[in-house]
Symmetry: C2
Subunit: 475 residues, 2 copies
């Protein structure tokens, strides 16, 4: 079993390397053959993960690794071969259709594909099984053990307050000048700052690197090989910096996992909601804090002359300003979750059959207006903006807000340690990292996400710390 698991991990990490190369380097015409290489690898992985040898090997394991691999084996083998194929073909076509639909702002180009994707999602949920509603089965692909009803309850309990905070933050931000942030920021200078910051947070560049892509991401190519990417705005250095801090958060989690268990669940990240807690913590709780900028504003001023006369007290509000945007990926900390509440509500209704595919644009715009007070200019900036559904990623969005809530809760728990807190106030973030390594990273997938939260913070995911943080930052 050991050998088989190592083989699967080699194939998976090889696929990650090919994917990384495709996003960062591969010439345009290479894409066609690259797709064949990737399809071959994922086919082979599926073959091995559903083999009799794998099933037999499960008996030789014990504890959380047995539990998690049995779960993975069951999920993989419960799907009939023709459904797996249909799933892959449908999402390939849907992704192309989505891209076209968004380009020409025409929802009807995408709608029939969404219909098929929904049907497949429902079939998968039936094969996988669920307790309360089909959405449970999809959600737990990303957030092990999560129940839709509980997530909905959590989101319902905070939605009013999140909307209030967002409104207050947006209102207050109107008085915050921001134009002084803008000024010539050559990419080479941004790269120096980004690297120094990532290194000071503990990112190990002997086992990682940063590259440039249109859509930033973090991926792992081996137990000592974590790749981050970012994009640059040559007029605003904070865009790539906060992006890099976000991806560094993901990267620190990956670098903090037990290396020797790289081929086992105990050496792998537990869920998207926990992964996102790390990226959001380094981006927002550290990156937009006063201690961070007490240390780093002087360095930024050396690199970007237009900032030289700036006071910290003017700078800080500017990197914590809020504004309503139709686009999720442009949203700030104060308004981000509203975008998620909207998507979670809609996809749950779609799956439950309470919302028709044809009704999505209207439902989107109405709900959006209630949350944001205005309507998106069109569907391209509305219900067609995200790639997730077109890839069959129903159930994914919820993990973004879970990540935000977890980030504050974990940060709060870490700071209740006096040594972490004292160091933080002096812009020494390594004790914070050590706390996360011990309480979060070291566990891999040995604990369920909610048990991890309980063990690290004393309670399951709970919005108290998050709301308190947002209020103190924005109200």
């Amino acid at each position: 079993m050991e050998k088989l698991l190592r083989e699967i991990t080699i194939l998976k990490s090889t696929a990650s390397a090919l994917n990384w190369d495709q996003e960062t380097n591969a010439p345009a015409a290479a894409v066609e053959y690259r797709a064949k290489q990737l399809a071959y690898l994922s086919g082979r992985i599926h073959e091995l993960k559903t083999s009799t040898k794998f099933q037999e090997g499960l008996a030789n394991l014990n504890g959380p690794n047995q539990r998690e691999l049995t779960h993975q084996y069951e999920r993989a083998t419960k799907l009939p071969q023709d459904l797996v194929l249909r799933d892959s073909e449908t999402s390939t076509l849907a992704k192309a259709a989505w891209s076209e639909a968004r380009g020409k702002d025409d929802y009807t180009t995408f709608a029939p594909h969404l219909e098929k994707l929904l049907e497949i999602a429902r079939e998968k949920a039936e094969h996988w099984g669920y307790e309360d509603e089909p959405y449970d089965a999809l959600l737990s692909e990303y957030e092990r053990g999560a129940k839709t009803g509980e997530v909905a309850e959590l989101f319902d309990s905070v939605s009013g307050e999140l909307a209030e905070i967002a409104a207050a933050a947006v209102e207050r931000s109107k008085k915050i000048p921001v134009n002084f942030l803008h000024g010539e920021a050559p990419i080479a200078a941004q790269q120096i700052l980004n690297r120094e910051v990532a290194e000071s947070l503990g990112f190990d560049f002997k086992a990682g690197r940063i590259d440039t892509t249109e859509h930033p991401f973090c991926t792992t190519l081996g137990p000592a090989d974590v790749r981050l990417t970012t994009r640059y705005d040559e007029q605003d250095f904070t865009s790539s910096l906060f992006g890099v801090m976000h991806e560094t958060g993901h990267g620190l989690y990956e670098q903090g996992l037990p290396t020797e268990d790289f081929h086992l669940p105990s050496g792998q990240a537990v869920s998207l909601g926990i992964h996102e807690s790390q990226s959001r913590m380094w981006e927002n709780h550290v990156g937009r804090s006063r201690p961070f900028w007490e240390k780093w504003l002087p360095r930024a001023q050396e690199l970007f002359p237009h900032l030289r006369k700036l006071e910290l007290n003017d700078f800080l509000p500017a990197v914590n300003r809020a504004a309503y945007s139709a686009i999720r990926v442009e949203a700030d900390e104060a308004t981000y979750d509203l975008h998620i509440l909207l998507r979670f509500k809609l996809e749950r209704a779609l799956l439950a059959g309470e919302l028709e595919v044809a009704g999505v644009p209207d439902a989107w715009n109405e709900t959006f207006e209630k949350l944001f007070g205005f309507r998106p200019a069109n569907d391209a900036e509305g219900c067609l903006q995200d790639i997730h559904w077109s890839m069959g990623g129903l159930g994914y969005f919820a993990t973004y807000s879970l990540g935000n809530i977890n980030s504050a809760q974990l940060f709060n728990a870490a700071l209740s340690d006096d040594a972490v807190s004292l160091a933080f106030s002096k812009a020494d973030f390594l004790p914070l990292l050590k706390w996360m390594q011990r309480e979060v990273h070291a566990h891999g997938s040995s604990l369920f996400p909610q048990d991890l939260m309980k063990s690290a913070t004393g309670s399951m995911t709970n919005p108290e710390a998050y709301l308190k943080h947002l209020r103190s930052r924005f109200c």
Copy 2:
């Protein structure tokens, strides 16, 4: 069989992608796991290439593909499993020992490894079989169908004249001023020129790219994905330019192979001696010619201000100067083959048991002195300079000089076509590329290298054109 061959090709090209990434991007600590990924892929490739299914599939093929794949199958299956393992382990250790030995200039650190490598090479030769001498079996790993005796005869027939030409070239070059070539050459400006030149020669950047590595190379990651690398001297732009033209030569061959046969010998390069003919032709016959610089010197002068006052008649001799060097990879066109004659003579003697491993440094230095008129300063700059033997690459060196000879012969044949020749004189090299595509690239491995030479030029590899070229350039 089709499916099996496509699978093998996917695995091989995936390994190429991982190797490319390791040379260009991978962080230092990633190397250990990358070695595991690569070992897994090559193990799997070997497994498939020696499988019963492969053997049975051979019957479904015909023509040159059947011939070549049968040859490959026989070579792979003739080696006992324990020899393959011993080979791989020995060369891994030998590579490390060689690196250490070169670093501290201590041949005795490497000698016991070379002893083992030789023994393995002899065993392999016995398993593979040969007609005249064991070296035949090794040589044909790189140069299909080549006979050691014939190569030795060819080299013997030219060695005297090559030495005379080299001596004359070195003597004449003493009077050629070169210091004006040196001057500030920012990497960004070099990259612009290199790309423009490679593009104008026909290299397709939609299906390829250029990166930076310490040791330049060309590798193929897919039927539309050819990667070149180079290194930069910020004081001498010609170093990276000729390097890029060399690798572009390899790359044009790869891009010229029949794409639809990517998984078959008919879509793959035929030998190292033919591959090198392409790189050396674009580097030396095109890149150091008058028509080339009539077109490109003005562009170089735009990019590198220190060249602005330079006349073509002063510039040309400077890029065609010659000097004796102890180091092969620094050698110019006039002296390069002397380095190869030395290595070919020594490794043939080693394999035949006529030279003891312990005697290599003395034999090297004596032969070197006869050829170059001086002795290397030490073994690090002498018999320890090349990585090839440490990788078990006995039989490889000969292909460099075969490549040089072939390059002149093919170039000469192409230029005997009036349209090619006229275009060449106007620095339009596309007709030359088209000739090479038709006469060389399109054949893949369908013809043996010597049959390819005969079909393209009317005779097998023959030094006449090469010697004529060298005499006219250097004497």
